[in-house]
Structure formats: C-alpha cells, structure tokens
Amino acid sequence: MTSIPLNDTDGAGDGGRSGRTTPQFSRPAGRFLGRWELFVTASYWLAWLSFSRRTPMGTGIAREFDSLGMGALRLVIPASLLVGIITIFQLASQLSQFGAESLSVRAIGWFAARELGPVGVALMVVTRSASGIAGELATMRTNGEIDALRAMGLNPVKYLVAPKLAALLIAVPGLTILCDALIVLGGWLGSVAILDVSTRFYFDQFRQAFELRDLFIGLVKSIVFAYLIAIVACDEGINVGGEVHAIGAAASRAVVYTVLGVLGADTVVNAIFYFIPILA
C-alpha cells in the first residue's frame, strides 16, 4: 500500500469550522437556527471550493449542475415560451379595455426580467429538484452514508451541500436569463400571430421599455432563490427522521417550504422596491 503522510488534521482543511457542522444535525436551537447555521457553513465551503485547487468536488459540482441545471432545460424552455404567450394575451386583453393594447408589448420586457423570469424559474426548479435533493440526502442519511463521511473525518456539508449550492447558484441565474429571453420570444409569437403586431413594432417597444437594471434586479432575486432552494431542501434531507415515511415526508416538506420561501422572499423584495422607490 502506498504510504501517504497524514495532514495535520487539527482544524486543517476546513479552517477549523468542522465543529460547526455537528449542531445542525442535532438541531438544538430549532429549525430556523439550524437552517441559518447550514447557510453559514455552506457559504463558507462554497468560498473554499471556489478558491481551492485541491478538491475532489470539481466533478461533484459539474455533476450537480448537469442534474439540477441542464436537466431543467426541457421544462424551462417550453414553459417559458408558453408563459410569454399567456402573458401577452392577458396584458392585451386587460389593456384593450382602455385602448392601450400596444402597451402590453412595453410591459412584457420588464415584467419578464423582474418577476416572471426569476420567480418562474425558481418555481420550476423547486418543482423539479427540491424533492429530489431532499430525498437524495434523506436516503443517504438513512443508509448511513452521512455518518460514514463523518466517520472518515469528512464534513458532510462540504461534500454534499456546497456542490448543490454552487450548481444552483450557477444554474438558476442562467436559467432565469434564458427564461426572460423565451418569455419575450413567446410574447412576440403571440403578438405577431394573434394580435397582429409587427415584429419591428414589438421589438422597438421592447427596447424602449426594457432597462438593464430590470435584468439585474431579476438576477439578484434568482441568486436569493437559489440559496433558498439549496439550503431548505438540503436541510430537510439531512435532518430526516428515522421513521418509515420520513424520506417521503422530507421531500414533501422541502417542496412546500421552498415554494413558500421563494414567494415570501419575492414579496419582501417587491415591498422594499415599492416603499423605497429609489432602489427600484
């Protein structure tokens, strides 16, 4: 057997933070604090993974990105196009009562970038992946894999949660930009085919109404949503109970809490923009 010298393990390799990982499994201070602690620890490992060259997790992030991000494309692409068409119909229908049908074209750009894109993508990712993340981690815990990691002196948050967080932080904003573009495209399809609007008029109106700031705000939201999805779903999975139905229950809770979390966070952000207009 090849002899490889042991590193000094006293706090090495994890910045001495491994002690912070244990309480979240025993959860002494309630669910909220447990999630906050997971948020802090996962953020630490995310930073570590970003700057460390010495990690086997590069492949882990790629694998998670493939599963959580690329895998969502077949849902996000058609759904975004349909949302674009539906939105333009609804806007045109309401605004036609005031003879302002053409304003629907102006509205779709910023509405897609600020609201529909980030929230739509977040909900699609939740629908597709939150239960999967929670179920996977819950199964690993039930099978003793998480204990096996700890028994090897490895930090489960570093190896299981941080790669998923990293993948979602790349995938969700990326999917949001794609979704924004496809909503605008869907709106164009609906406008040209049904509302008899010319392509030139559509994109002229879009250019006049859309600002890069809209896209930026949407992307900030999508980063918040990615964090929420990763932390809540992972927390539900890692802290699963030992009952027969626990894995299924954890997966269900992950979906419920992430949906509520995404909509709650969106409400807070919108309220901030409403009450502090200078930020909007």
């Binding site: 491994s18 003793g144 894999e145 002196g153």
Partner: protein, 247 residues
C-alpha cells in the same frame, strides 16, 4: 504489549445510554471481537467510540493518544476518526461516487497526496482487498460482497492502526463470508493493524478472535480468550452458539 486501541468505561450515547461502562482493548495485529445478540448495543458502541453519538462518559486511546469520548472537540474527533478505520454494517458507501472515488476521498481530504497519487493508492487498495471491478462503478452496481470489500479498502486508505467492522459478513453467502474473512486476515497480517469486530456471529469469536467481549443488554458480561469465554458457561454465549448450531 501496549494496546493499539483501548476503550475505558464508555457509557453512551449521552442523551439515552444504550451501552454502559464498556472497557475493551485491541492489540496490534490481533483481533478482538465484541460478540452479542442483535440489539445488544454493538452498533451504538461503535457510534459512541467514534464520536458519531457523543458518549456520556468514557475514554478512547489510540496508540496511547487519549480522546475523551464525552467531551472532545470536533477537531479532536476528526483526528480520532483518521486513526480508526471503520466499516459500517451494510458498507455505507457513498452512492453518488464511483468505487475508486469512494476510496480516494479520505486520501484527498487528509493527506498531501496529489489527485493522481490518491487515485493510484486507491486503485492499489482496491486490488489488495481482492476486487476486480470497474473503478467507475457506483456502489449500486456492485454486489454485497464487493461493497463490503470496497468499504474495507476505504477504511484502510489512511493506514489506520486499528479497524472497526460492524457485522462485516452479515447477509453474505457463507462462501463469500469466509473469503472476506480470509482477505481481512491476510491484510491484517501484512499491514499489522488491530481489528475490532462487532458481531452476533460466534464463528468470528471462536474461529479467529484473540480476545472476546460478550455484550448483552449494553454491558460486557464476559471477556477473555475464546477458550475462557467458551468454558465460562455464559447464557448469552450458549444461546448464540445454539442458534448458530440450529441455523
């Protein structure tokens, strides 16, 4: 001879103790077996002495280095866990990783090995435990015997002075179990690590243990050499032997 691994007065876990005042030791290159029926507290003993569940009281010594089973910091527990190889009941391999990744994981985390050195060492370990498998195969693609051998390779990755195995042959066909046992004995002889086996199978205890601890109701009720334990007339041992004979 100085014990390579020793447990003194371990009671745990802290919140609801299942094992009480356990003291045992394991010598370098020798095999100690904790023999007890199902639900005697064997798995909980393993969890408590690795610090996976914090003990209420007790000390663990690895090559003379003392660890407080009840109040050690996470950093010290990490140190303890790198000195003790562990094979869990059911192998507990990381299902999302390939076979070779499972073995190289502790090497990449705890040693200064480069990725290629870790991979080479992992491949060698897989060969040493008698596995001839696709290194990229996930645990789900391996049969139970291969999973156990892979878990053994992973446990040996850091060359620990002691390896703890929880029911290593449970669920294996008799022939596969005997072969795994032979592999373990061969590796133990070549590497010189001490082995602590937790088992309900008296075959281990009386076949190849150097020292036996009989566990019942979370307490060690008898201990000594196989000959001593066989002749002591313990009810627990008699029942286990009768069951084994009936099976």
């Amino acid at each position: 001879m100085t014990p390579v691994f020793e447990v003194r007065h371990l009671t745990g876990p802290d919140d609801a103790p299942v094992v009480f005042d356990i003291s045992l030791l394991c010598l370098r290159g020798k095999t100690s077996v904790v023999l007890g029926p199902i639900h005697a507290g064997k798995t909980m003993l393993m969890r408590s002495l690795l610090g996976l569940d914090r003990a209420r009281t007790g000390e663990v010594f690895v090559e003379g280095e003392r660890f407080d089973a009840a109040g050690e910091s996470e950093e010290r527990l990490r140190r303890l866990r790198t000195c003790v190889g562990s094979v869990f009941q059911g192998a507990a391999l990381i299902s999302r990783l390939g076979a070779i990744e499972n073995v190289e994981l502790p090497l990449l985390e705890h040693t200064s090995a480069s990725a290629s050195e870790a991979r080479e060492a992992a491949a060698q370990l897989i060969h040493e435990v008698g596995l001839d498998i696709d290194p990229e195969a996930t645990p789900g693609q391996l049969d139970r015997d291969e999973q156990r051998r892979l878990a053994l390779a992973r446990a040996l990755a850091l060359r620990p002075p002691v390896v703890i195995l929880d029911e290593p042959t449970q669920g294996l066909h008799a022939h596969a179990a005997a072969e795994l046992d032979e592999t373990l004995a061969r590796l133990q002889e070549s590497h010189g690590f001490g082995t602590l086996i937790l088992s309900h199978d008296p075959r281990y205890a009386f076949g190849r243990a150097d020292r036996i601890y009989v566990l019942a109701g979370g307490r060690v009720v008898e201990s000594g050499t196989p000959e001593h334990v066989r002749e002591c007339g313990s009810d627990v041992v008699s029942r286990l032997l009768d069951r084994r004979g009936a099976a």
